[in-house]
Amino acid sequence: MVQLQLDPFLNELTSMFERSTEKGSVWVTLKRSSLKSKVQRNKLANAGEAIEYRCLIRATDGKKTISTSVGPKDHQRFQASYALILKAHMTALKKRERKEKKKSAEINKREVTSKITKKKS
């Protein structure tokens, strides 16, 4: 599988989210990997060289798969952009009802606080 650079990957991930709003899902997988075959790894290990690991990121919508990888130097920048994309597209998740039902706001509040205390305990 061809690996993309970070920005093209993020762009493609964005369009995957946009394409799957009506039906379908998006999967994103994180895995620690050396990005090398077993043979290559064995060679390095035999030569006593250290194997460099990176975080491999794969995304698919069931039709197309894209991937990229981040190392110790660039993962922070990537994870920030990734978090922004998720936040922008995971809009179908339920928010706590508050603004829409002002009349029942008090009841909701009670429910919410009881939920919080339950979770804490």
Partner: protein, 103 residues
Amino acid sequence: MVYITEWDKFAERSIELFRADPESTRYVMKYRHCDGKLVLKVTDNRECLKYKTDQAQEARKMEKLNNLFFTLMARGPDVDLSEVTGKDQMEAQPTKKGRGRKQ
């Protein structure tokens, strides 16, 4: 497949699973917009931990777990996470009240 229902348990056990076998543990997020569902899975092909939610608030917790996994996977399982988690705690406190106003 049994889902873990408590977030803290899920997060804790996922990190443990990764630390036990960093090379074969993967972390998968599945988001289904039409059903408004989010499923997280961590597996090393022997054990499988799953968590399911439809709450936007949980997505914020996931973001923190994402950051933990990015750090662990990019820097290695022995990395000191106190830097990441310490920051999270500081971020988590002011957001405890007044949620939803951010949007």
